[in-house]
């Protein structure tokens, strides 16, 4: 046989090997010509999906909420205001009624009615409702039983039991179009999402960039957050740039306008750049060192736990390791939370006191105490600093950095570990949302899901569950203050800080402020020139 011919056949065979893999590669969506004003945002993580019901991910939510609006939203100061809803009333402890704003349309021109709201929530509540898959957002709706339309622009939410944080949780849910999804299916919807938000999708490669253009028929957004009206830029683009150094370089080179997750030590240098503005706001992540009382015997003694709290100079850590861009949490809540107890001023940094307490507990100069402080790569600087302080008391501490996926099962099941420095999200700024996973006794997989201290105090649990079903805000505040005192005295963790949200933008960008939940809403953002 002719050699060249043989080669040709051979190459075809090889190509066939790839055929199945490569067939019809790449995103099929066409892209359009350049528009007048294009705003580009550099995000640190990939977007997982564009279906509002199918993720549990802040980055995805950030992008989704530029295309979808919710019944209510948060102001930059974390107040809840109506968005798609015109008004809402609580009819009974377990019933809420929402009036929907009239005249809102989805990107495809369909009007938004009570049917869409009912559909949105029932799609999350019902198992397997998303093309046979279940939404992972059910837990964000508490004990919600059902959502019913009472007329074209009114819906009724019914709960199994009172759930006081409902309104604060509600901004996490975005309204999706019923007819569109029923017609095309959820898989198509995730590729070609249609919402009622300020931007509509142009093209999406979720690990690369998501391009959106202004939705001209937008109803204007929440009247409580001016300016109301359509978005100010023609095109908004989210680009995924995972490496921090690259993200900053992209901003400095002028390739992007806004970047998320700026490391604190870069702030001075970025601020020195006349073309760049750094913006900060309070964050919603609660950082603490959980002291596992079941796994490591000495932590059972409250004096040891208090000694550790006295041994760590949190203010100095904030000033150095965090470059001043974190807020100390003197007690078990983020300052500014609902029902925050400002009578708690925290454990002072006092090495002598710490040593005394240790001596009282039977560990003079930390003798006999030796443990490992676990953490993730992203938090290891602070963990190291904490360990350095603890070592001053004579205790032998070493830091170990883990992949979170490996560490998590150890935290849940016990094993060779004692303390962990970790973060817990509290984007509602409700103590309920923090206490339930972090400090309530571990009863099942979910209650106490983040209770890495294995803290269990019946007095605390009782008062907590009592508070859960209270409706009156004054009573709730009083109870939360009491709960904070109990936790402060028991010190199941070393109370550390909440880092600020640090983002940076080009000075061309107008009217943009970071939000405490780390969300980047581009509706009101403009570009100069």
């Amino acid at each position: 046989m002719d050699r060249k011919w043989q080669l040709a056949v051979a190459l075809v065979l090889i190509t066939a090997l790839f055929g199945g893999v490569l067939g019809g590669c790449g995103p099929a969506d066409g892209v359009e010509e350049e528009e007048a004003k294009t705003l580009i945002v550099g995000l640190a993580q990939s977007v997982l999906t564009l279906d509002p019901a199918m993720h549990r991910d802040r980055t995805s939510e950030t992008v989704i909420r530029n295309m979808f609006d919710g019944l209510v939203t948060r102001t930059p100061s974390m107040d809840i205001v109506p968005e798609i809803a015109e008004s809402y009333t609580q009819l009974s402890p377990t019933e809420w009624e929402f009036k929907i704003r009239e005249g809102i349309t989805f990107h495809n021109g369909d009007p938004l009615t009570a049917d869409d709201v009912e559909f949105t929530f029932m799609r999350i509540l019902t198992e397997g409702a998303v093309d046979g898959q279940s939404s992972p957002r059910k837990g964000l709706l508490g004990s919600l039983l059902k959502v019913e339309k009472t007329d074209d622009y009114t819906v009724l939410f019914t709960f199994e039991e009172p759930w006081p944080i409902f309104l604060r949780m509600l901004p996490h849910q975005q309204i999706v179009p019923k007819n569109y999804i029923e017609e095309h299916g959820s898989e198509y919807f995730a590729e070609n999402p249609v919402g009622a938000g300020p931007f509509k999708l142009v093209s999406a490669a979720l690990d690369e960039e998501i391009v959106m253009e202004r939705f001209d028929d937008y109803y204007g957004g929440s009247p409580e957050i001016p300016p109301v009206g359509p978005a100010h830029v023609d095109t908004a683009i989210f680009q995924i740039i995972p490496e921090t150094s690259t993200r900053i370089a992209a901003l400095q080179a002028g390739d992007v306008h806004i970047i998320s997750n700026v490391p604190t030590h870069m702030v001075d240098q970025l601020e020195a750049d006349p073309n760049i503005a750094v913006k900060t706001c309070t964050g919603t992540n609660f950082f603490s060192v959980s002291l596992d009382m079941e796994v490591y015997e000495p932590f059972k003694d409250v004096r040891v736990r208090k000694a550790l709290n006295h041994a760590v100079d949190v203010d100095e850590i904030i000033a150095t390791v965090m470059d001043g861009l974190a807020i100390r949490c003197p007690g078990p809540c983020i300052p500014g939370s609902f029902g925050y107890n400002d009578a708690i001023t925290g454990y002072d940094y006092d090495l002598e006191k710490a040593k005394e307490l240790l001596a009282e507990a039977g560990y003079p100069n930390g003798e006999g105490l030796s443990f490992v402080l676990d953490t993730q790569d992203a938090h290891k600087d602070t963990a190291e600093a904490i360990a350095q302080y603890i070592e001053e008391t004579g205790i032998d501490v070493s830091v170990r950095v883990w992949d979170w996926g490996v560490l998590k099962p150890l935290l849940d099941e016990g094993g060779e570990r004692a303390a962990v420095f970790s973060s817990w999200g509290n984007s509602t700024m409700e103590p309920h949302d923090l206490f339930e996973p972090k400090f309530v006794s571990k009863l099942d997989d979910v209650l106490g899901r983040g209770n890495y201290s294995r803290y269990s105090n019946p007095e605390f649990d009782e008062l907590f569950f009592e508070t859960t079903v209270l409706i009156d805000d004054n009573e709730r505040i009083a109870n939360y203050k009491k709960l904070q005192e109990i936790l402060f005295e028991d010190a199941p963790v070393i109370f550390v800080y909440t880092p600020m949200v640090v983002e940076a933008c080009s000075t061309q960008v107008e009217r943009w402020e970071p939000s405490p939940d780390g969300r980047i809403n581009l509706h009101r953002v403009g570009l100069k020139e």
């Binding site: 690369e208 740039i241 998590k408 970790s422 899901r449």
Partner: protein, 336 residues
């Protein structure tokens, strides 16, 4: 080369691929870490019913052997399953990300050749000279530093300080390229969009250089060795004796033969490039398969890791086979 021999090679690869599939299956399932728990993240408001429903949907509640059975039967039907986290068919995710990875691999290949072949030739012609030593040592630079570090340095120098090359990504949206194959270089040529082609190449340059620099040493060494060997052959000695200039001897006579092994070793490098670029992809925000799989490992997205590793292995086997086929083609004396 006989077709039967190629078919045999492909058949032999099947059990290997199956083994890879099984190994990656157990690898993921036996690592600590619960995908559903990780998906819920560090946040409250999680209901136990919800977690059970997801575990059931992902078939994580079934015994391991049943999970393996489902995985293998689906695989034989060509179904790689659905990603836990992205909720999309794995085959589609792989298909969307593979072109970027392959394009980067070819970019790296070309750059490593451009660096390495001249170095290899000069080193061989001037064997044992200072030039030989220094240029070979230079070729080793790329292999001697971590790729992520080199990438960041390149971005700082070329994007931030000099503004010559873009810092990240494959192509800005504004260029407006209509994608057909997913390979942006090919697409821009097909649609005649020359500004897109220029932009694509600019975006490709720094990541390709980072990835390719590591291979330059290998290729340079190969070129040097084969060049040395060829220069000692009788016909070269004869050519020299006839009084041809050194340039004519090297370029016209020796180079062609000397490049044969270089070309084949380069084909083999494709496999390395494909499997080794997750770091370069992360640094340059390159939306390829490597980044996808690293992310999937951290999130314990079992189906996605399984699918990606199978595709990698397939590519590796195919690249090796390709190298051998090209090789036998240029060297008729040898049977496959």
């Amino acid at each position: 080369m006989r077709l039967a021999r190629i078919l045999e090679r492909i058949l032999v690869a099947i059990p290997v691929m199956l083994g890879v599939a099984i190994v990656v299956f157990f690898f993921m399932r036996l690592s600590p870490g619960d995908p559903v728990d990780l998906m819920m993240g560090e946040a409250g408001s999680v209901s136990p019913r919800e977690m059970e429903a997801l575990a059931r949907e992902f078939r994580l509640d079934e015994p391991l052997h049943m999970q393996l059975y489902h995985f293998l039967t689906d695989l034989l039907r060509g179904d790689l399953g659905n990603s836990f986290v992205k909720r999309k068919p794995v085959a589609r995710l792989v298909r969307e990300h593979l072109p970027a990875t392959i394009e980067l691999a070819f970019g790296a290949l070309i750059i490593s050749l451009v660096i390495a072949i001249p170095i290899g030739i000069i080193s061989a012609v001037k064997q044992h000279s200072i030039l030989d030593r220094v240029s070979m040592a230079g070729a080793f630079l790329g292999i001697s530093m971590p790729a992520f570090w080199m990438g960041i340095v390149l971005i700082l120098v070329f994007s931030v300080f000099w503004h010559v090359f873009p810092s990240h990504g494959r192509l800005p949206f504004a260029v407006g390229l209509k994608t057909i194959t997913g390979f942006y270089t090919i697409d821009s040529i097909l649609t005649g969009n020359w500004s897109a082609l220029a932009s694509t190449l600019k975006h490709l340059f720094l990541p390709s250089l980072t990835l390719g620099a590591g291979t330059a040493a290998t290729v340079a060494r190969m070129t040097r060795s084969s060049m040395l060997e060829v220069l000692r052959q009788d016909y070269i000695v004869l050519a020299r004796a006839k009084g041809l200039t050194e340039y004519a001897v090297v370029v016209k006579h020796a180079l062609r033969n000397a490049l044969i092994p270089t070309v084949t070793i380069v084909a083999l490098q494709i496999g390395t490039f494909l499997g080794g670029n997750m770091i370069v992809e992360t640094v340059f925000g390159w939306p390829g398969l490597g980044r996808l799989v690293v992310d999937a490992i951290q999130r314990r997205d079992f189906p996605l890791v399984q699918g990606a590793v199978i595709v990698y292995a397939l590519t590796f086997v195919a690249a090796n086979l390709l190298a051998d086929i090209i090789y036998t083609f240029v060297n008729p004396k040898i049977e496959l």
